[in-house]
Amino acid sequence: MTSTTPKPDEQAPRTGSERRTELLQQVRTIASVPLASVLLALIVAALIILASSVVTTGSVNFGLPLVAYGALLQGALGSPQNTILQASPLVLGGLAVGIGFKAGLFNIGGYGQFVLGATAAAGVGSALSTAPGPIAIVAALLAGMVAGAAWGFIPGALKAWTGAHEVVTTIMLNSIAGAVIAYVILGPLLAPGYSFGRTGDLGNATLPILIGPNIHLGVVLAVLAVPAVWWLLYRSTLGFEIRSVGANPSAGRYAGMRPGFLIPFTMAFSGLLFGIAGSTEILGVSYFMIPSYGTSIGFDAIAVALLGRSHPFGIAVAALLFGALRAGAGLMQIQAQIPVEIVDVIQAVILLFLAADVVVRRLFRIRAAGAIVDVKTVTRSYGGRTP
């Protein structure tokens, strides 16, 4: 918990090299457990792949993990634009969950905020498909942001004002969101003339492709969101208040901060980021929305935020890693006949080692702080007592 308390600037000015070694030291302290967890997870996955070779071919194929990981790397690095494209929504989602962690909030509602944002953007985008491009794009993005933020605001407000825990309410709101988008897409937003339920064509509201074959404007938004959230958290008064209330709600309240405002604000902001992720996926990648839109972004984002230790830059790195895994998984399935779902397994095992960081630290003899230190206040409030 102490690590979230902002440190005052300690000493007199230091020289550049001193600062650099100190920064390196800090990065080592922070990154060693996550890196070790990733390494261990890759080893575990290799063992699973080995075991799979027994199931599929009847004998142990010791080369299979190497073939699989080779294909994975080739798929991820051979076409870096796919990695970036996969990482882009993960960055936004990771930031959304991470800022929640900083405020002592656990947003499992990413799915709902994402699909509602996506649906709103698809609806407004198709309605304005003939309007001038900039107007259509801005309006569609705004709609997605507002929808996501609203869906995040609800559990925030419920938590701050009634004490209903956000873990339960966001899970419930995910299912409600599924029903809402099914109704809206098969009702008011239904595009005529297709054999299946979907929203209309985007026309001018489609995000422009900026680099290469598929890097769209939304990727730029995701990249810009990293420093923006960092600034909000670590350089603004609001961010200071968010972190203080997250680290110690009572202390925050005694210091005159207002959890009654900060909690709904943070949840709405978190939902807004998921809303951007949803809208840019529709406006830049899939171009229309369907009622049964499946995505595991809500849980993937939690994994990204935890691996990135809730820090915007850490989240960016973690999102790139998971993006690379997803981008390479297809080629791996083709070349090594290893189902793409192995990526979900790797992701879960990374989290497992992060949670069981005691084990990881003992294995690697790391003397660093525990991996998941920001989440302590989340579960403590589960019993319905306001923090």
Binding site: G163, I176, F299, A348, A356, T379, R380, Y382
Partner: protein
Amino acid sequence: MDQIADLLTSIPVLGVVFQLIGYLVDTVPVIAPIFVGLAAPIALGALCGIMNERSGIVNIGIEGMMLSAAFTGFLAAGLVAQAFGGGTPGPVLGVTVPILIGVAVAVVTGMLVSLLHAWLSISIRADQIISGTIINILAFGLTGYLNRLIITPNPRLGAGILQPWHPPQALVDLPVVGWLFTAFFAHGPIAISVLFAVIFLQVMLFRSRWGLRTRAVGEHPRAAETVGIDVIALRYRNVILGGIFAGLAGAYLTLEQSGSFQNGMTSGRGFIALAAVIFGRWTPLGAFGAALLFTASEALRVAIGLRPPTNELGDVLRAIPNEFYGALPYIVTIVVLVAAVGRSVAPAAVGQPYYREART
């Protein structure tokens, strides 16, 4: 009598309410057996949640526990049936050796996954919500992976399903008792066992030494420790035993309801179970009631499709989008949570890791 009914139902606005009551009275007996069956996995999941939360462990991983049990149960039953035969349903409730083995494997899986949750939450003192999240992601990923690896190339894998019990006609013909019997017992063995499990756990939790100790550990572990209760051991035991219920819920899905496995086939039932725990105020009977209520709204949707109501009621119900009924359990849960917080609170120590050494 009919005239009074006609008079009542023809009152403007209020009449629709009377029509709704009439419609429910007409249809509930017909659909009740369906929704008691649908409620079985949710109620079983909720029992798992109660075992955890009453001992002070948050469990949002019920979904993952159910999913992994559903998978391993189906796989084990299917492999045994494939190796030794056994496609024909058994004489008593369709019980065959492969299915029995499948159910046993599912239960053991539920307990093993619960052991992981217990280890992370109790020994490692990891955040319990994170632990549950990990279990959900891991279960989804592993079952998806193994499904594609083992079951997809082997599409004929399966061991059939358990068969429902048909109560003797003499019982069914009894006025109210017969209806209750059909509603609660005209199911397969796992769904039948739910009612007994609920009553058993209710009695144990509030009328036995184990129950008192469990509740003490969930409310005030330090006080429990000072009177000689081994908090760590009891929490471990309860979380692992709770896995039995999650395992049964998983077995219900693949070995009693559908006879096949699909990725993510729990489709949120574990989360509804979590809601049922809260709605039922952490009591087995309450959670069972909540599970029934939640599936009733789903059953109502089916009923409206099968036997569309007439009159103004029909217009009203048709105006309500179909999707609303699907969302109803979740909306109700949020409303209940908001209304009940302060009066119905979770066990006090829930979510807090226990340190034996002095530390608040």
